[in-house]
Protein backbone atom coordinates (compact mmCIF):
# COMPACT_ATOMS: atom_id res chain seq x y z
CA UNK A 1 0.00 0.00 0.00
CA UNK A 2 1.18 3.48 -0.77
CA UNK A 3 2.09 5.27 2.36
CA UNK A 4 -0.07 8.28 3.05
CA UNK A 5 1.74 11.36 4.12
CA UNK A 6 0.38 13.22 7.08
CA UNK A 7 -0.29 16.26 4.98
CA UNK A 8 -2.59 14.21 2.71
CA UNK A 9 -5.17 13.82 5.42
CA UNK A 10 -8.40 15.62 4.69
CA UNK A 11 -8.13 19.18 5.75
CA UNK A 12 -4.41 19.26 6.34
CA UNK A 13 -2.67 20.70 3.33
CA UNK A 14 0.78 22.08 2.80
CA UNK A 15 2.25 24.95 4.74
CA UNK A 16 0.77 27.62 2.50
CA UNK A 17 -2.65 26.10 2.79
CA UNK A 18 -2.34 25.88 6.56
CA UNK A 19 -1.53 29.58 6.75
CA UNK A 20 -4.32 30.46 4.33
CA UNK A 21 -6.86 28.42 6.24
CA UNK A 22 -5.82 29.88 9.55
CA UNK A 23 -6.00 33.39 8.10
CA UNK A 24 -9.47 32.66 6.73
CA UNK A 25 -10.67 31.42 10.11
CA UNK A 26 -9.27 34.44 11.90
CA UNK A 27 -10.81 36.79 9.34
CA UNK A 28 -14.21 35.06 9.50
CA UNK A 29 -14.16 35.13 13.29
CA UNK A 30 -13.28 38.82 13.27
CA UNK A 31 -16.23 39.63 10.99
CA UNK A 32 -18.59 37.41 12.95
CA UNK A 33 -17.54 38.64 16.35
CA UNK A 34 -17.39 42.32 15.44
CA UNK A 35 -20.94 43.04 16.68
CA UNK A 36 -20.09 41.37 19.99
CA UNK A 37 -16.91 43.40 20.27
CA UNK A 38 -18.82 46.54 19.43
CA UNK A 39 -21.48 45.81 22.01
CA UNK A 40 -18.91 45.36 24.77
CA UNK A 41 -16.75 48.27 23.59
CA UNK A 42 -19.70 50.67 23.41
CA UNK A 43 -20.65 49.80 26.96
CA UNK A 44 -17.17 50.72 28.17
CA UNK A 45 -17.21 54.20 26.65
CA UNK A 46 -17.67 57.45 28.43
CA UNK A 47 -20.76 59.42 27.50
CA UNK A 48 -18.72 62.03 25.64
CA UNK A 49 -16.99 59.46 23.51
CA UNK A 50 -20.14 57.53 22.60
CA UNK A 51 -21.48 60.27 20.34
CA UNK A 52 -18.43 60.94 18.21
CA UNK A 53 -18.34 60.01 14.55
CA UNK A 54 -16.54 58.14 13.15
CA UNK A 55 -16.48 56.14 16.37
CA UNK A 56 -13.02 55.02 17.47
CA UNK A 57 -12.50 51.32 16.80
CA UNK A 58 -10.30 50.82 19.82
CA UNK A 59 -11.03 51.76 23.40
CA UNK A 60 -9.17 54.83 24.68
CA UNK A 61 -9.82 54.06 28.28
CA UNK A 62 -12.07 51.63 30.00
CA UNK A 63 -14.87 53.53 31.61
CA UNK A 64 -17.34 51.68 33.78
CA UNK A 65 -19.63 54.63 34.32
CA UNK A 66 -22.25 53.10 32.02
CA UNK A 67 -22.61 50.14 34.35
CA UNK A 68 -22.68 52.39 37.38
CA UNK A 69 -25.40 54.51 35.81
CA UNK A 70 -27.29 51.38 34.70
CA UNK A 71 -27.45 49.88 38.14
CA UNK A 72 -28.25 53.13 39.93
CA UNK A 73 -30.73 54.68 37.47
CA UNK A 74 -32.47 51.67 35.98
CA UNK A 75 -34.15 48.77 37.79
CA UNK A 76 -31.94 46.27 35.96
CA UNK A 77 -31.25 44.27 39.13
CA UNK A 78 -34.96 43.88 39.68
CA UNK A 79 -35.53 42.84 36.04
CA UNK A 80 -32.76 40.28 36.16
CA UNK A 81 -34.14 38.92 39.40
CA UNK A 82 -37.59 38.47 37.88
CA UNK A 83 -36.12 36.88 34.76
CA UNK A 84 -34.22 34.47 36.96
CA UNK A 85 -37.41 33.70 38.86
CA UNK A 86 -39.49 33.04 35.73
CA UNK A 87 -36.70 31.01 34.14
CA UNK A 88 -36.23 28.93 37.30
CA UNK A 89 -39.95 28.21 37.49
CA UNK A 90 -39.85 27.23 33.82
CA UNK A 91 -36.98 24.82 34.48
CA UNK A 92 -38.83 23.24 37.42
CA UNK A 93 -42.05 22.86 35.44
CA UNK A 94 -40.22 21.49 32.43
CA UNK A 95 -38.24 18.94 34.43
CA UNK A 96 -41.35 17.72 36.25
CA UNK A 97 -43.27 17.22 33.01
CA UNK A 98 -40.47 16.01 30.83
CA UNK A 99 -38.88 13.25 32.93
CA UNK A 100 -41.92 10.95 33.00
CA UNK A 101 -42.87 11.82 29.43
CA UNK A 102 -39.40 11.16 28.05
CA UNK A 103 -39.25 7.92 29.99
CA UNK A 104 -42.54 6.77 28.47
CA UNK A 105 -41.43 7.82 24.99
CA UNK A 106 -38.07 6.15 25.26
CA UNK A 107 -38.51 3.05 27.41
CA UNK A 108 -42.11 1.96 27.09
CA UNK A 109 -44.00 0.67 24.09
CA UNK A 110 -47.59 1.74 23.79
CA UNK A 111 -50.09 2.48 21.07
CA UNK A 112 -50.07 6.19 20.31
CA UNK A 113 -46.41 6.75 21.09
CA UNK A 114 -45.60 7.82 17.54
CA UNK A 115 -48.61 10.14 17.53
CA UNK A 116 -47.39 11.86 20.71
CA UNK A 117 -43.91 12.18 19.20
CA UNK A 118 -45.36 13.82 16.10
CA UNK A 119 -47.48 16.13 18.21
CA UNK A 120 -44.36 17.27 20.08
CA UNK A 121 -42.52 17.89 16.85
CA UNK A 122 -45.44 19.86 15.50
CA UNK A 123 -45.80 22.08 18.60
CA UNK A 124 -42.08 22.71 18.49
CA UNK A 125 -42.25 23.90 14.91
CA UNK A 126 -45.20 26.19 15.40
CA UNK A 127 -44.41 29.91 15.47
CA UNK A 128 -45.40 31.48 18.79
CA UNK A 129 -47.10 34.30 16.89
CA UNK A 130 -49.73 31.83 15.64
CA UNK A 131 -51.21 31.55 19.12
CA UNK A 132 -50.30 34.91 20.62
CA UNK A 133 -53.76 36.48 20.19
CA UNK A 134 -55.84 33.50 21.43
CA UNK A 135 -53.41 32.98 24.34
CA UNK A 136 -53.89 36.59 25.39
CA UNK A 137 -57.68 36.17 25.27
CA UNK A 138 -57.48 32.93 27.26
CA UNK A 139 -55.16 34.49 29.87
CA UNK A 140 -57.43 37.52 30.21
CA UNK A 141 -60.45 35.29 30.79
CA UNK A 142 -58.58 33.33 33.44
CA UNK A 143 -57.20 36.50 35.02
CA UNK A 144 -53.72 35.19 34.34
CA UNK A 145 -52.17 38.29 32.77
CA UNK A 146 -49.58 40.27 34.75
CA UNK A 147 -48.60 37.11 36.58
CA UNK A 148 -45.07 35.73 36.44
CA UNK A 149 -46.14 32.23 37.48
CA UNK A 150 -48.54 31.85 34.56
CA UNK A 151 -45.96 33.40 32.24
CA UNK A 152 -43.55 30.67 33.36
CA UNK A 153 -46.28 28.10 32.67
CA UNK A 154 -46.57 29.36 29.11
CA UNK A 155 -42.79 29.33 28.67
CA UNK A 156 -42.88 25.76 29.95
CA UNK A 157 -45.52 24.79 27.38
CA UNK A 158 -43.33 26.19 24.61
CA UNK A 159 -40.09 24.56 25.68
CA UNK A 160 -41.42 21.17 26.79
CA UNK A 161 -41.64 19.61 23.28
CA UNK A 162 -37.98 20.22 22.51
CA UNK A 163 -36.89 19.17 26.01
CA UNK A 164 -38.95 15.97 25.94
CA UNK A 165 -37.26 15.15 22.67
CA UNK A 166 -33.76 15.89 23.95
CA UNK A 167 -34.26 13.88 27.13
CA UNK A 168 -35.83 10.99 25.21
CA UNK A 169 -32.70 10.61 23.08
CA UNK A 170 -30.67 10.76 26.27
CA UNK A 171 -32.78 7.96 27.80
CA UNK A 172 -32.46 5.98 24.56
CA UNK A 173 -28.73 5.83 25.12
CA UNK A 174 -29.06 3.94 28.42
CA UNK A 175 -28.38 0.29 27.60
CA UNK A 176 -31.38 -2.00 27.88
CA UNK A 177 -29.32 -4.58 29.76
CA UNK A 178 -28.80 -2.24 32.71
CA UNK A 179 -32.52 -1.64 33.02
CA UNK A 180 -33.28 -5.33 32.74
CA UNK A 181 -30.66 -6.22 35.31
CA UNK A 182 -32.16 -3.69 37.72
CA UNK A 183 -35.61 -5.15 37.21
CA UNK A 184 -34.36 -8.63 37.83
CA UNK A 185 -32.67 -7.43 41.01
CA UNK A 186 -36.09 -6.39 42.26
CA UNK A 187 -36.33 -2.69 41.39
CA UNK A 188 -39.75 -1.44 40.47
CA UNK A 189 -40.37 1.02 37.64
CA UNK A 190 -39.88 4.12 39.80
CA UNK A 191 -36.66 2.86 41.25
CA UNK A 192 -35.40 2.00 37.78
CA UNK A 193 -36.14 5.53 36.72
CA UNK A 194 -34.73 7.32 39.79
CA UNK A 195 -31.80 5.10 40.66
CA UNK A 196 -30.71 3.73 37.30
CA UNK A 197 -31.85 5.78 34.32
CA UNK A 198 -31.71 9.35 35.68
CA UNK A 199 -28.18 9.23 37.10
CA UNK A 200 -26.98 7.91 33.75
CA UNK A 201 -28.63 10.76 31.86
CA UNK A 202 -27.30 13.65 33.94
CA UNK A 203 -25.82 15.37 30.85
CA UNK A 204 -29.23 15.20 29.19
CA UNK A 205 -30.86 16.71 32.27
CA UNK A 206 -28.30 19.51 32.37
CA UNK A 207 -28.90 20.23 28.68
CA UNK A 208 -32.66 20.28 29.19
CA UNK A 209 -32.37 22.64 32.16
CA UNK A 210 -30.12 25.05 30.28
CA UNK A 211 -32.40 25.01 27.22
CA UNK A 212 -35.48 25.67 29.35
CA UNK A 213 -33.79 28.35 31.47
CA UNK A 214 -32.59 30.41 28.55
CA UNK A 215 -35.65 29.87 26.38
CA UNK A 216 -37.55 31.62 29.16
CA UNK A 217 -34.80 34.14 29.93
CA UNK A 218 -34.65 35.26 26.28
CA UNK A 219 -38.36 35.17 25.47
CA UNK A 220 -39.88 38.47 24.42
CA UNK A 221 -43.11 38.01 22.42
CA UNK A 222 -45.29 36.50 25.14
CA UNK A 223 -43.71 38.44 27.96
CA UNK A 224 -44.47 41.68 26.15
CA UNK A 225 -48.07 40.66 25.46
CA UNK A 226 -48.94 39.24 28.87
CA UNK A 227 -47.05 41.58 31.20
CA UNK A 228 -48.12 45.21 31.30
CA UNK A 229 -47.17 46.37 34.78
CA UNK A 230 -43.71 47.94 34.96
CA UNK A 231 -42.88 46.36 38.30
CA UNK A 232 -43.32 42.88 36.76
CA UNK A 233 -41.02 43.49 33.80
CA UNK A 234 -38.54 40.74 33.09
CA UNK A 235 -35.15 41.69 31.68
CA UNK A 236 -36.02 41.14 28.01
CA UNK A 237 -39.04 43.41 28.43
CA UNK A 238 -37.15 46.02 30.41
CA UNK A 239 -34.38 46.06 27.85
CA UNK A 240 -36.79 46.45 24.95
CA UNK A 241 -38.39 49.36 26.80
CA UNK A 242 -35.00 51.02 27.36
CA UNK A 243 -34.44 50.70 23.64
CA UNK A 244 -37.56 52.70 22.80
CA UNK A 245 -37.01 55.29 25.52
CA UNK A 246 -35.07 58.01 23.80
CA UNK A 247 -33.67 59.37 27.03
CA UNK A 248 -31.62 56.24 27.73
CA UNK A 249 -27.98 57.02 26.91
CA UNK A 250 -26.66 54.57 24.32
CA UNK A 251 -23.72 53.40 26.37
CA UNK A 252 -26.10 52.58 29.23
CA UNK A 253 -28.29 50.64 26.78
CA UNK A 254 -25.28 48.66 25.60
CA UNK A 255 -24.22 48.00 29.19
CA UNK A 256 -27.70 46.62 29.82
CA UNK A 257 -27.38 44.37 26.74
CA UNK A 258 -24.02 43.06 27.92
CA UNK A 259 -25.30 42.45 31.45
CA UNK A 260 -28.29 40.54 30.11
CA UNK A 261 -26.12 38.40 27.80
CA UNK A 262 -23.34 37.39 30.18
CA UNK A 263 -25.18 34.48 31.79
CA UNK A 264 -26.42 32.76 28.61
CA UNK A 265 -23.09 33.25 26.82
CA UNK A 266 -21.21 31.76 29.73
CA UNK A 267 -23.50 28.73 29.95
CA UNK A 268 -23.73 28.11 26.22
CA UNK A 269 -19.97 28.21 25.89
CA UNK A 270 -19.48 25.96 28.89
CA UNK A 271 -21.82 23.21 27.79
CA UNK A 272 -21.78 23.82 24.04
CA UNK A 273 -20.87 20.23 23.12
CA UNK A 274 -23.47 18.76 25.44
CA UNK A 275 -26.12 21.09 24.20
CA UNK A 276 -25.35 20.34 20.60
CA UNK A 277 -25.34 16.61 21.13
CA UNK A 278 -28.65 16.83 22.96
CA UNK A 279 -30.22 19.04 20.34
CA UNK A 280 -29.09 17.01 17.41
CA UNK A 281 -28.89 13.40 18.57
CA UNK A 282 -32.50 12.72 17.74
CA UNK A 283 -32.84 14.94 14.76
CA UNK A 284 -29.55 14.91 12.95
CA UNK A 285 -27.09 12.11 12.81
CA UNK A 286 -23.66 13.62 13.12
Amino acid sequence: MTSIRDSDRPGAGGRIETVARFAAIVFASAVILFPVYWMVLSSLRSSAESLSFPPPLLPHAIDLSAYLQLFTDKPIGHWLLLSTLVATLTVIGTIILVIPAAYALSRLYWPGRTAVGLLLLFTQMMPGAVVVAPVLTLYRQLGWTDNLLTLALLHTAFVVPLCAWVLKTSFDAVPKEIVEAALIDGCDRWKVLWLVVLPLTRPGLVAVSVIAFFASWNEYLFASTLITRNELYTASLGLATLMTQLDTPLFVLMAAGVTFSILPVFFYMAIQRHLLRGLTAGAVKG
Partner: protein, 321 residues
Protein backbone atom coordinates in the same frame (compact mmCIF):
# COMPACT_ATOMS: atom_id res chain seq x y z
CA UNK B 1 -50.23 2.47 43.76
CA UNK B 2 -49.37 1.02 40.41
CA UNK B 3 -45.77 0.57 41.39
CA UNK B 4 -46.55 -1.31 44.58
CA UNK B 5 -48.90 -3.68 42.87
CA UNK B 6 -46.42 -4.58 40.21
CA UNK B 7 -43.66 -4.95 42.77
CA UNK B 8 -45.82 -7.37 44.74
CA UNK B 9 -46.64 -9.25 41.59
CA UNK B 10 -43.00 -9.29 40.68
CA UNK B 11 -41.95 -10.52 44.09
CA UNK B 12 -44.52 -13.33 43.94
CA UNK B 13 -43.29 -14.27 40.50
CA UNK B 14 -39.77 -14.26 41.70
CA UNK B 15 -40.53 -16.37 44.76
CA UNK B 16 -42.23 -18.94 42.61
CA UNK B 17 -39.49 -19.00 40.04
CA UNK B 18 -36.34 -18.49 42.03
CA UNK B 19 -36.58 -21.77 43.79
CA UNK B 20 -36.80 -23.72 40.58
CA UNK B 21 -34.98 -21.77 37.89
CA UNK B 22 -31.58 -20.16 37.33
CA UNK B 23 -31.48 -16.43 36.67
CA UNK B 24 -31.28 -16.57 32.90
CA UNK B 25 -34.43 -18.62 32.83
CA UNK B 26 -36.22 -16.02 34.92
CA UNK B 27 -35.23 -13.42 32.40
CA UNK B 28 -36.44 -15.56 29.54
CA UNK B 29 -39.70 -16.35 31.28
CA UNK B 30 -40.46 -12.67 31.82
CA UNK B 31 -39.60 -11.53 28.38
CA UNK B 32 -42.66 -12.44 26.26
CA UNK B 33 -45.01 -10.39 28.39
CA UNK B 34 -42.83 -7.28 28.44
CA UNK B 35 -40.71 -6.82 25.36
CA UNK B 36 -38.81 -3.82 26.75
CA UNK B 37 -37.99 -5.55 29.97
CA UNK B 38 -40.03 -2.99 31.94
CA UNK B 39 -43.02 -4.35 33.75
CA UNK B 40 -46.01 -2.12 33.43
CA UNK B 41 -49.73 -1.88 33.43
CA UNK B 42 -51.33 -0.80 30.22
CA UNK B 43 -52.28 2.68 31.36
CA UNK B 44 -48.91 3.52 32.92
CA UNK B 45 -47.33 5.14 29.84
CA UNK B 46 -50.40 7.29 29.33
CA UNK B 47 -50.25 8.46 32.93
CA UNK B 48 -46.65 9.47 32.38
CA UNK B 49 -47.34 11.63 29.33
CA UNK B 50 -50.70 12.94 30.54
CA UNK B 51 -49.46 16.06 32.45
CA UNK B 52 -47.37 17.13 29.50
CA UNK B 53 -50.22 16.58 27.05
CA UNK B 54 -52.64 18.50 29.26
CA UNK B 55 -50.35 21.52 29.31
CA UNK B 56 -49.70 21.38 25.56
CA UNK B 57 -53.39 20.88 24.94
CA UNK B 58 -54.47 23.80 27.12
CA UNK B 59 -51.83 26.37 26.18
CA UNK B 60 -50.96 25.48 22.58
CA UNK B 61 -53.49 23.24 20.88
CA UNK B 62 -56.58 24.89 22.36
CA UNK B 63 -55.35 28.39 21.35
CA UNK B 64 -54.70 27.08 17.82
CA UNK B 65 -58.33 25.92 17.60
CA UNK B 66 -59.53 29.16 19.08
CA UNK B 67 -57.45 31.16 16.60
CA UNK B 68 -58.91 29.09 13.78
CA UNK B 69 -62.40 29.90 15.11
CA UNK B 70 -61.59 33.64 15.07
CA UNK B 71 -60.71 33.23 11.43
CA UNK B 72 -64.20 31.89 10.74
CA UNK B 73 -66.06 34.62 12.64
CA UNK B 74 -67.90 37.09 10.45
CA UNK B 75 -70.56 39.70 11.24
CA UNK B 76 -73.23 37.19 10.18
CA UNK B 77 -72.10 34.01 11.96
CA UNK B 78 -69.40 31.55 11.05
CA UNK B 79 -68.23 31.59 7.48
CA UNK B 80 -65.33 31.76 5.12
CA UNK B 81 -65.67 35.48 4.41
CA UNK B 82 -62.33 36.30 6.02
CA UNK B 83 -60.63 33.76 3.79
CA UNK B 84 -62.37 35.16 0.74
CA UNK B 85 -61.10 38.58 1.78
CA UNK B 86 -57.59 37.16 2.21
CA UNK B 87 -57.55 35.62 -1.26
CA UNK B 88 -58.27 38.94 -2.97
CA UNK B 89 -56.18 41.07 -0.60
CA UNK B 90 -53.03 42.19 -2.42
CA UNK B 91 -51.44 43.09 0.93
CA UNK B 92 -51.80 39.48 2.04
CA UNK B 93 -50.02 38.16 -1.05
CA UNK B 94 -47.29 40.78 -0.73
CA UNK B 95 -46.82 39.65 2.86
CA UNK B 96 -46.56 36.01 1.73
CA UNK B 97 -44.05 37.08 -0.94
CA UNK B 98 -41.92 38.94 1.64
CA UNK B 99 -42.11 35.97 3.98
CA UNK B 100 -40.84 33.69 1.21
CA UNK B 101 -38.03 36.08 0.28
CA UNK B 102 -37.03 36.32 3.93
CA UNK B 103 -37.26 32.62 4.83
CA UNK B 104 -35.63 31.31 1.66
CA UNK B 105 -32.80 33.86 1.84
CA UNK B 106 -32.16 33.13 5.51
CA UNK B 107 -32.28 29.38 4.90
CA UNK B 108 -29.91 29.44 1.91
CA UNK B 109 -27.46 31.88 3.48
CA UNK B 110 -27.46 30.22 6.88
CA UNK B 111 -26.69 26.83 5.33
CA UNK B 112 -23.98 28.27 3.06
CA UNK B 113 -22.32 30.23 5.85
CA UNK B 114 -22.73 27.29 8.22
CA UNK B 115 -21.18 24.86 5.77
CA UNK B 116 -18.33 27.18 4.75
CA UNK B 117 -17.31 27.71 8.35
CA UNK B 118 -17.68 24.03 9.14
CA UNK B 119 -15.38 23.20 6.22
CA UNK B 120 -12.88 25.81 7.37
CA UNK B 121 -12.90 24.39 10.89
CA UNK B 122 -12.80 20.73 9.82
CA UNK B 123 -9.11 20.49 10.28
CA UNK B 124 -7.24 19.93 13.46
CA UNK B 125 -5.34 23.01 14.47
CA UNK B 126 -4.26 24.55 17.67
CA UNK B 127 -6.99 26.72 19.12
CA UNK B 128 -9.88 25.01 17.38
CA UNK B 129 -11.70 24.61 20.69
CA UNK B 130 -11.34 28.34 21.28
CA UNK B 131 -12.77 29.21 17.86
CA UNK B 132 -15.63 26.77 18.36
CA UNK B 133 -16.51 28.44 21.64
CA UNK B 134 -16.18 31.95 20.21
CA UNK B 135 -18.44 31.04 17.32
CA UNK B 136 -21.13 29.96 19.78
CA UNK B 137 -21.50 33.51 21.10
CA UNK B 138 -24.01 34.90 18.56
CA UNK B 139 -26.20 31.88 19.17
CA UNK B 140 -26.08 32.45 22.93
CA UNK B 141 -26.83 36.18 23.01
CA UNK B 142 -30.55 36.78 23.58
CA UNK B 143 -32.50 38.39 20.76
CA UNK B 144 -33.21 41.68 22.52
CA UNK B 145 -29.53 42.62 23.04
CA UNK B 146 -28.79 41.46 19.47
CA UNK B 147 -31.43 43.86 18.19
CA UNK B 148 -30.07 46.68 20.36
CA UNK B 149 -26.52 46.13 19.11
CA UNK B 150 -27.44 46.13 15.43
CA UNK B 151 -29.70 49.16 15.78
CA UNK B 152 -26.79 51.01 17.36
CA UNK B 153 -24.36 49.87 14.67
CA UNK B 154 -26.78 51.06 11.98
CA UNK B 155 -27.65 54.38 13.56
CA UNK B 156 -27.67 57.00 10.78
CA UNK B 157 -25.71 59.60 12.75
CA UNK B 158 -23.05 57.62 14.61
CA UNK B 159 -23.43 53.94 13.65
CA UNK B 160 -20.10 52.23 13.13
CA UNK B 161 -21.25 50.49 9.91
CA UNK B 162 -21.64 53.91 8.33
CA UNK B 163 -18.00 54.57 9.03
CA UNK B 164 -17.08 51.34 7.23
CA UNK B 165 -19.35 52.05 4.27
CA UNK B 166 -18.08 55.62 3.93
CA UNK B 167 -14.51 54.43 4.18
CA UNK B 168 -14.88 51.77 1.48
CA UNK B 169 -17.23 53.60 -0.89
CA UNK B 170 -15.86 57.10 -0.37
CA UNK B 171 -19.41 58.43 -0.02
CA UNK B 172 -20.17 61.29 2.35
CA UNK B 173 -23.72 60.26 3.12
CA UNK B 174 -24.62 57.40 5.40
CA UNK B 175 -27.09 54.96 3.90
CA UNK B 176 -30.54 55.10 5.49
CA UNK B 177 -30.35 51.43 6.44
CA UNK B 178 -33.72 51.06 8.02
CA UNK B 179 -35.62 53.52 5.84
CA UNK B 180 -34.90 51.82 2.54
CA UNK B 181 -37.20 48.80 1.99
CA UNK B 182 -34.57 46.64 0.28
CA UNK B 183 -31.80 47.53 2.73
CA UNK B 184 -34.11 46.91 5.68
CA UNK B 185 -35.02 43.46 4.37
CA UNK B 186 -31.32 42.74 3.78
CA UNK B 187 -30.52 43.79 7.32
CA UNK B 188 -33.08 41.59 9.02
CA UNK B 189 -31.89 38.68 6.86
CA UNK B 190 -28.26 39.30 7.88
CA UNK B 191 -29.11 39.70 11.56
CA UNK B 192 -31.28 36.56 11.58
CA UNK B 193 -28.48 34.60 9.92
CA UNK B 194 -25.89 36.04 12.29
CA UNK B 195 -27.92 35.05 15.33
CA UNK B 196 -28.63 31.52 14.10
CA UNK B 197 -25.68 30.25 12.05
CA UNK B 198 -23.49 28.84 14.88
CA UNK B 199 -25.93 26.01 15.44
CA UNK B 200 -25.84 25.07 11.75
CA UNK B 201 -22.06 25.37 11.62
CA UNK B 202 -21.47 23.22 14.67
CA UNK B 203 -23.92 20.51 13.57
CA UNK B 204 -22.34 20.40 10.10
CA UNK B 205 -18.89 20.31 11.64
CA UNK B 206 -19.76 17.21 13.63
CA UNK B 207 -21.34 15.69 10.50
CA UNK B 208 -18.11 16.37 8.59
CA UNK B 209 -16.06 14.80 11.33
CA UNK B 210 -18.21 11.68 11.17
CA UNK B 211 -17.29 11.07 7.52
CA UNK B 212 -14.72 8.26 7.74
CA UNK B 213 -11.14 9.20 6.84
CA UNK B 214 -10.77 5.90 4.97
CA UNK B 215 -13.18 7.10 2.30
CA UNK B 216 -10.94 10.07 1.56
CA UNK B 217 -7.85 7.89 1.57
CA UNK B 218 -9.44 5.39 -0.82
CA UNK B 219 -10.52 8.20 -3.11
CA UNK B 220 -7.03 9.69 -3.13
CA UNK B 221 -5.51 6.34 -3.99
CA UNK B 222 -7.97 6.19 -6.87
CA UNK B 223 -6.67 9.56 -7.96
CA UNK B 224 -9.61 11.73 -7.00
CA UNK B 225 -8.82 15.43 -6.66
CA UNK B 226 -10.07 17.86 -4.04
CA UNK B 227 -13.22 18.78 -5.91
CA UNK B 228 -14.10 15.18 -6.73
CA UNK B 229 -13.61 14.23 -3.08
CA UNK B 230 -15.90 17.04 -1.99
CA UNK B 231 -18.51 16.16 -4.60
CA UNK B 232 -18.53 12.37 -4.12
CA UNK B 233 -17.58 11.89 -0.48
CA UNK B 234 -18.18 15.02 1.59
CA UNK B 235 -21.53 16.02 0.12
CA UNK B 236 -23.12 12.53 0.24
CA UNK B 237 -21.72 12.09 3.74
CA UNK B 238 -23.45 15.17 5.11
CA UNK B 239 -26.49 15.33 2.82
CA UNK B 240 -28.91 13.98 5.41
CA UNK B 241 -27.75 16.52 7.99
CA UNK B 242 -28.02 19.25 5.37
CA UNK B 243 -31.58 18.22 4.50
CA UNK B 244 -32.74 18.25 8.12
CA UNK B 245 -30.98 21.56 8.79
CA UNK B 246 -32.71 23.02 5.73
CA UNK B 247 -36.09 22.20 7.28
CA UNK B 248 -34.97 23.56 10.66
CA UNK B 249 -33.67 26.75 9.01
CA UNK B 250 -36.99 27.23 7.27
CA UNK B 251 -38.83 26.95 10.58
CA UNK B 252 -36.32 29.14 12.40
CA UNK B 253 -36.87 31.94 9.91
CA UNK B 254 -40.64 31.53 9.73
CA UNK B 255 -40.87 31.83 13.50
CA UNK B 256 -38.72 34.94 13.66
CA UNK B 257 -40.54 37.78 15.37
CA UNK B 258 -38.43 39.51 18.00
CA UNK B 259 -35.47 40.55 15.84
CA UNK B 260 -37.70 41.92 13.08
CA UNK B 261 -40.02 43.65 15.50
CA UNK B 262 -37.30 45.36 17.49
CA UNK B 263 -35.06 46.30 14.57
CA UNK B 264 -37.53 47.51 11.94
CA UNK B 265 -40.94 47.17 13.57
CA UNK B 266 -41.99 45.54 10.29
CA UNK B 267 -41.18 48.73 8.41
CA UNK B 268 -40.41 50.89 6.57
CA UNK B 269 -44.20 50.91 5.98
CA UNK B 270 -44.55 47.13 5.80
CA UNK B 271 -41.40 46.13 3.90
CA UNK B 272 -40.22 43.69 6.56
CA UNK B 273 -43.59 42.48 7.83
CA UNK B 274 -43.27 38.74 7.46
CA UNK B 275 -45.78 36.21 8.75
CA UNK B 276 -45.12 36.43 12.50
CA UNK B 277 -45.05 40.26 12.70
CA UNK B 278 -48.08 40.36 10.38
CA UNK B 279 -50.16 38.31 12.82
CA UNK B 280 -49.02 40.53 15.68
CA UNK B 281 -49.84 43.72 13.75
CA UNK B 282 -53.32 42.56 12.78
CA UNK B 283 -54.09 41.47 16.32
CA UNK B 284 -52.54 44.24 18.40
CA UNK B 285 -52.26 47.24 16.07
CA UNK B 286 -55.47 46.95 14.08
CA UNK B 287 -57.33 44.82 16.67
CA UNK B 288 -58.52 42.64 13.81
CA UNK B 289 -58.46 39.27 15.57
CA UNK B 290 -60.38 37.62 12.74
CA UNK B 291 -57.87 38.53 10.10
CA UNK B 292 -55.01 37.73 12.49
CA UNK B 293 -56.67 34.32 12.85
CA UNK B 294 -56.63 33.81 9.08
CA UNK B 295 -52.90 34.54 8.89
CA UNK B 296 -52.33 32.34 11.96
CA UNK B 297 -54.06 29.45 10.18
CA UNK B 298 -51.62 29.96 7.28
CA UNK B 299 -48.77 29.83 9.82
CA UNK B 300 -50.27 26.70 11.32
CA UNK B 301 -50.37 25.04 7.89
CA UNK B 302 -46.75 26.01 7.25
CA UNK B 303 -45.65 24.37 10.50
CA UNK B 304 -47.75 21.27 9.76
CA UNK B 305 -46.12 20.94 6.33
CA UNK B 306 -42.67 21.51 7.88
CA UNK B 307 -43.32 18.77 10.41
CA UNK B 308 -44.24 16.36 7.62
CA UNK B 309 -41.18 17.38 5.62
CA UNK B 310 -38.96 16.91 8.67
CA UNK B 311 -40.34 13.43 9.37
CA UNK B 312 -40.07 12.47 5.70
CA UNK B 313 -36.44 13.57 5.52
CA UNK B 314 -35.66 11.76 8.75
CA UNK B 315 -37.33 8.52 7.57
CA UNK B 316 -35.46 8.65 4.30
CA UNK B 317 -32.16 9.06 6.07
CA UNK B 318 -32.88 6.11 8.34
CA UNK B 319 -33.71 3.66 5.56
CA UNK B 320 -30.26 3.03 4.09
CA UNK B 321 -28.58 2.66 7.46
Amino acid sequence: MQGDRSRRRYQEDQLALATALPETAIRRARRPRTPSGVVGSRSFPYLLVLPMLLLEGALILYPIVRGALYSLETPDGLGLDNYAQMLVDPDFWRMIGRTLVFTISVDVIILSVGLSLALLMNWSFRGRGLFRSLLTIPWAIPEVPVAITFVLMLDPSFGVLNAFVRFFSGADESPQWLLDPTLAMGIIIVVTVWKGFPFYSLVLLSALQAVPDELYEAARIDGAGRIAQFRYITIPGISSSLALLAVLGFIYSTQQFTLIWLITGGGPVDATTTLAPAIYMQAFRFYNFNYAGVIAVVGFLISAVSTIAFVAVQRRQQVPE
